[in-house]
C-alpha cells in the first residue's frame, strides 16, 4: 500500500506559529508608538519651519519682522500678521482691522483652527476655559532676563511703551507684574525687529519656540493658553511671546505673577523644538546649559557663548 503523504499543518504547529506572531506583535507595538511620536515630532518641526519661512517672507515684503502683537487698536498677534504668508490670505482678508480689541475678532479668527499653529503631540487646543476658541502652541522669543546680573551679558527690559523699565524690572526674579518684558528678543511687544538688529546672527538666535506643555503650581495643565489671535492686550502682558528666564519644560506658571515667563516646553521626550532666526529648526534639550539658553535667546547680547552647541 502506498503511504499517502499528508499535506497541511498540525494543530500544534499552528499554535506555535500563532504564539510566535503574538510575541512579535507585542515587541513591535512600542516601536510603532515610538514611530508615531516620531512622525508627530516631524510634523511639529515642519510647522515651525513653515512659520520661519513665513517670517522671512514677511521680512522681504515689509523689511522688518512682525511685532509681537499690536498694542491698542485691534490688539492682534504676530500669528495673524503672517496669515497671508502661510496660505491663509482668504482668512486674512476677512479681518476688519478697525475693530478694536482682540475679543471682537473671536467670531472671525478665534473659532478658526490653523493646523500649522499646533503641535500634534499635544491635545490641548483651546484657550483656557473655552471649548470653541483656539489657542496656539508656538510662541515668539521675547528675549532673556538676567539670572545673574552681567552674566553671560547684561540684559535690559522695557516697559510696554518701549521705554527703559524702572530699576529692578528686568531682573530675574521679576518684580514687575507678570514678569516684565525683556528687550532683547526677536519679537518685541512694541518694536519691530529688522534682520540688521540681530547682531548675534540670525542662526544663533532663538526665534519661535513651542509651548505645548506647561503646568501650574497645583499641577493644573496648560491654563496659560490664550486665544491665538490675541496680541498685546494689556500693559503688563503680551500673550504671543515669552521671556526666557525659566528652565525648558519647567512647570512653574503662577497665574497673575509670571504669565510672561512661561517656559518653552513640549510633550516630546527630553526637550522642545525651536525655530532659529535663520529658519532652521532644532531640537533643544531640557539639559541645555543655562547660560547657553540665555545667550541664544538674546539677539544682541554679544555673548561669547552664543550657539546651541555651547561653543
Amino acid at each position: 500500500m502506498k503511504l499517502r503523504r499528508r499535506v497541511g499543518f498540525t494543530l500544534i504547529e499552528l499554535l506555535v506559529v500563532i504564539a510566535i506572531i503574538a510575541v512579535l506583535v507585542a515587541l513591535l507595538l512600542p516601536a510603532v508608538q515610538q514611530a508615531r511620536e516620531s512622525a508627530r515630532r516631524s510634523q511639529c518641526k515642519n510647522n515651525l519651519k513653515q512659520i520661519g519661512v513665513a517670517m522671512h517672507d514677511y521680512l522681504e515684503t515689509y523689511t522688518t519682522f512682525p511685532p509681537a502683537g499690536v498694542r491698542g487698536g485691534n490688539q492682534l498677534s504676530w500669528h495673524v500678521m503672517i496669515l497671508p504668508q502661510i496660505d491663509y490670505l482668504n482668512l486674512f482678508q476677512q479681518i476688519d482691522f478697525n475693530l478694536a480689541g482682540y475679543a471682537s475678532h473671536d467670531a472671525v479668527l478665534g473659532v478658526k483652527k490653523i493646523p500649522a499653529f499646533f503641535c500634534p503631540s499635544s491635545n490641548k487646543e483651546f484657550e483656557n476655559g473655552s471649548t470653541t476658541l483656539y489657542t496656539t502652541h508656538y510662541y515668539g522669543n521675547r528675549g532673556p532676563k538676567n539670572v545673574v546680573a552681567g552674566v553671560p551679558a547684561t540684559y535690559t527690559c522695557t516697559n510696554y511703551l518701549g521705554a527703559a523699565a524702572a530699576a529692578g524690572e528686568c531682573t530675574n526674579p521679576p518684580t514687575a507684574a507678570h514678569g516684565g518684558y525683556s528687550s532683547h528678543g526677536m519679537l518685541c511687544p512694541t518694536a519691530r525687529v529688522r534682520d540688521r538688529d540681530v547682531t548675534d546672527g540670525l542662526s544663533n538666535t532663538l526665534f519661535v519656540g513651542e509651548i505645548s506643555n506647561h503646568k501650574t503650581l497645583s499641577g493644573a495643565d496648560m491654563v496659560g493658553y490664550r486665544k491665538w489671535h490675541r496680541g498685546f492686550a494689556n500693559a503688563t502682558d503680551c500673550a504671543p511671546v515669552k521671556n526666557v528666564a525659566q528652565p525648558i519644560n519647567s512647570t512653574t506658571y503662577i497665574p497673575v505673577i509670571n504669565f510672561n515667563d512661561i517656559s518653552f516646553g513640549s510633550n516630546h521626550v527630553g526637550g522642545t523644538q525651536v525655530l532659529m532666526g535663520d529658519g532652521v529648526t532644532r531640537f533643544m534639550s531640557e539639559n541645555i546649559d543655562m547660560s547657553v539658553l540665555l545667550s541664544i535667546a538674546s539677539r544682541n547680547g554679544e555673548e561669547a557663548t552664543t550657539n546651541l552647541e555651547g561653543d
Binding site: 504547529e13 503688563t236 528652565p247 503662577i254
Partner: protein, 146 residues
C-alpha cells in the same frame, strides 16, 4: 517538519531584526544631576506653595542646566522633575500663600522672589532654606488677571 522549523526560524530572525531596528535611538544625557530635597520657610513658617529654581552660579565658574522643583506645604523635592548639577548655585525661591480666589488660582505672592547663594554637594542632599521677612519689603503688586 524539519523544513517547517527552518522556515519558522528564518521568519523569526528577520522579524526580530526588524523589531530591533525600530527600537534604536533615544540617546541619554551626559549631564549628571543630583537630587535636592528639603524644606523652605518664610518668617519661620512653611511656604504653602511656590517654586525653587537652582541656577548654576556662573560667576563662580559653575555651569550647567537649571534645576527646579515645586514647593508644597513647605517641602520641595527635585526627584520628580530636574535635579541640580551640584557646585555653587543661586537658589531662587518664589512663594505664594496658597489661598485660592477666582482670579488668583494659585494664591497671592508672599514676597519678591528671593535669591540665596549656596554651595551644593556633588551628591544627593537635603537643604533647608529660610526666606527672611525683609524679602517682602517693597513687593510689587501682582498683575491683573489675564
Amino acid at each position: 517538519m524539519a523544513k517547517l522549523f527552518q522556515n519558522l526560524a528564518a521568519v523569526t530572525l528577520s522579524a526580530a531584526a526588524l523589531v530591533s531596528a525600530g527600537c534604536g535611538g533615544g540617546g541619554g544625557s551626559d549631564v549628571e544631576r543630583f537630587r535636592v530635597s528639603g524644606t523652605v520657610t518664610f518668617k519661620g513658617e512653611p511656604i504653602p506653595a511656590g517654586t525653587v529654581t537652582f541656577e548654576p552660579n556662573v560667576t563662580k565658574g559653575n555651569k550647567g542646566p537649571f534645576g527646579y522643583a515645586t514647593i508644597t506645604n513647605g517641602k520641595f523635592d527635585t526627584s520628580s522633575v530636574k535635579g541640580t548639577v551640584g557646585g555653587p548655585h543661586f537658589v531662587r525661591i518664589e512663594g505664594t500663600d496658597g489661598k485660592v480666589t477666582p482670579d488668583k488660582p494659585q494664591g497671592s505672592r508672599l514676597f519678591n522672589a528671593h535669591r540665596v547663594e549656596v554651595d551644593l554637594p556633588k551628591s544627593n542632599s537635603e537643604q533647608k532654606f529660610e526666606v527672611p521677612a525683609s524679602a517682602a519689603e517693597g513687593m510689587q503688586a501682582d498683575g491683573p488677571p489675564v
